[in-house]
């Protein structure tokens, strides 16, 4: 199966190991992720101003590329746009939902984009990698696992962007199960815990670091208390706040014990038996290799 794929800027820079692990895993599962040509930034962060139409240009252009790929025959009958980054998923999905509701907004945006060869028709559907796995069936995924992650206790961290607002989420915001199902299909145990959809502090990390340090402590400490060996996420910003900020968390909270935070795709790659280029465990700030070795999952 070939599917148009939108990487987003962070997956080309600081979170490059998220992308490489996901592409390698998808390939092992028979999914070819075809990167959009000439994609631009997703737009980042839904604007809260009332007159915000210009903020929706960036997402619309990316979704237009999917229609173009189909028209050119780069891809056959695949109107879905695959995303990995939770933030990109949310931003693209939010815009798509809005302009699908408002033909007036779509027309205004198409009027601004008059240099594009064709206007956007609104046929693209934004999907997250988890949804693609769900569609394939987590039972099916389990059958393809060559190295079950037996005994590994994983805390699935949803954060905000995969679940909220409700109409755009990949699962029910109050009682999601998609990441737990994913974890179980890898042969690991999904930890039941309380902080899986608490906000990580998001962009406060730039100007109000202390907010993020406090939230990161609460989230990571809760995961640890509930028995987790590590956390998984699909958001580069959550990953930064929960993984890289542990230096500050450790300095501030005496009872804090560092805990690895991984992209879900790194563990998928491991369970699919892929090599170090795909798993890239050396790229995480808190090294996950000691715990994986301890569990007998890594040599």
């Amino acid at each position: 199966m070939k599917i148009p794929y939108y990487p987003g800027c962070t997956l080309k820079t600081t979170a490059d190991y998220f992308e490489t692990s996901a592409i390698a895993s998808a390939k092992a599962l028979g999914i070819e992720m075809v990167e959009l040509p000439d994609w631009n930034c997703c737009g980042v962060v839904g604007s809260l101003t009332s007159d915000d139409l210009i903020r929706h240009l960036a997402p619309v252009r990316n979704m237009l590329r999917v229609e173009e790929m189909n028209a050119r025959g780069d891809i056959e009958n695949e109107n879905r746009l695959l995303t990995l980054c939770s933030m990109c998923y949310n931003t693209l999905q939010r815009t798509n939902a809005r302009i699908k509701q408002s033909s007036e907004d779509l027309e205004s945006i198409n009027n601004i984009m008059y240099l594009e060869e064709e206007p956007y028709k609104g046929t693209t559907e934004v999907v997250h990698f988890f949804q693609l796995l769900e569609e394939m069936g987590f039972d099916e995924l389990a059958k393809k696992i060559v190295k079950p992650l037996k005994g590994l206790k994983i805390a699935p961290y949803y954060g905000c962007m995969l679940l909220r607002p409700e109409e755009l989420g990949i699962d029910k915001p109050d009682d999601p199960t998609i990441m737990e199902n994913f974890v179980e299909s890898l042969g690991a145990d999904a930890v039941q815990w309380n902080a899986r959809s608490i906000c990580c502090g998001s962009y406060h990390t730039v100007s109000n670091k202390e907010i993020v340090v406090k939230l990161a402590y609460e989230i990571l400490h809760n995961a640890r208390k509930c028995g987790a060996d590590l956390l998984i996420t699909s958001c580069p910003l959550c990953a930064f706040n929960l993984d890289n900020r542990q230096e500050e968390v450790e300095a501030q909270y005496l009872d804090f014990e560092p805990i690895p935070v991984l992209y879900f795709s790194q563990l998928l790659a491991l369970a699919l038996g892929l090599g170090v280029e795909a798993t890239a465990f050396d790229k995480n700030y808190i090294d996950p290799r000691p715990i994986l070795k301890k569990k007998g999952l890594l040599k």
Binding site: C9, C41, L57, I112
Partner: protein, 228 residues
């Protein structure tokens, strides 16, 4: 035979002038009696000095172009831009890295791009300006250098950008970084430099210096170009 001269009316800095049909904005402005000291250069569309903003009769759009390359139309309103006072950070190329962080530091406005594409619409060189700005956002310096290669730094992109990005200055940094850090190194260059320093071509050049103009011309046109 008498040639009928057709005139068109244009508005330069708010005043109406009759100028010959088919003139460029530059020649029309001079025909109208202006002596242009700034905002003019090569007159051939290469230097980018003569950025001009204009509007055509009956059209609401403000357009940008090079005065030396844009032909006037009847009723055109013209304002030449003598220079673009855009921000130009000073940097030492040897101290930089070819990645997006360099741009976060020197051109933080790049990251405000909302993909409106106004810059691309403004570019007289038909460069996909927005696409190279977007490439910079994701750290693809090579792509940004490639897309922006034909930039003549007229500044019209920066003048129109709602995010106040100075695209053309960011682009030249991308090309400098590409040339210094990313472009494949050519071992032939080092070999040739050694040959030059060893004086391999001195006798040939000495002989050419003594050759008269006519013979030099003949030699030039008969020369063999070996591109292998």
């Amino acid at each position: 035979m008498e040639i009928e001269r057709v005139m068109v009316k244009v508005y330069i800095m708010g005043e109406a002038y009759e100028v010959p049909e088919g003139s460029t904005i530059l020649s029309a402005t001079e025909y109208a009696g202006f002596q242009i000291k700034r905002g003019v250069g090569c007159r051939e569309g290469f230097c980018g000095a003569c950025a001009t903003v204009y509007r055509e009769k009956g059209d609401y759009k403000l357009k940008g172009g090079l005065a030396c390359q844009t032909v006037v139309t009847d009723g055109m309103t013209i304002a030449q831009i003598p220079s673009v006072p855009a921000e130009k950070p000073v940097y030492d190329i040897t101290q930089l890295e070819a990645n997006e962080n360099t741009f976060k530091e020197l051109f933080p406005t790049v990251f405000r791009c909302v993909a409106c594409n106004t810059c691309t619409k403004a570019c007289p060189q038909d460069i996909k300006v927005m696409d190279y700005v977007q490439a910079l956002k994701r750290g693809d310096i090579a792509r940004a250098a490639d897309i922006s290669f034909d930039c003549i730094r007229c500044g019209l992109c920066a003048l129109r950008c709602p995010a106040e990005i100075v695209q053309y200055n960011a682009a030249i940094l991308a090309r400098r970084l590409y040339a210094r850090y990313l472009a494949p190194k050519s071992p032939e260059v080092d070999i040739r430099i050694e040959e030059i320093e060893a004086g391999k071509f001195v006798p040939e050049i000495d002989e050419l210096k003594k050759t008269d103009r006519v013979e030099l011309g003949e030699k030039y046109y008969k020369r063999e170009i070996n591109i292998d």
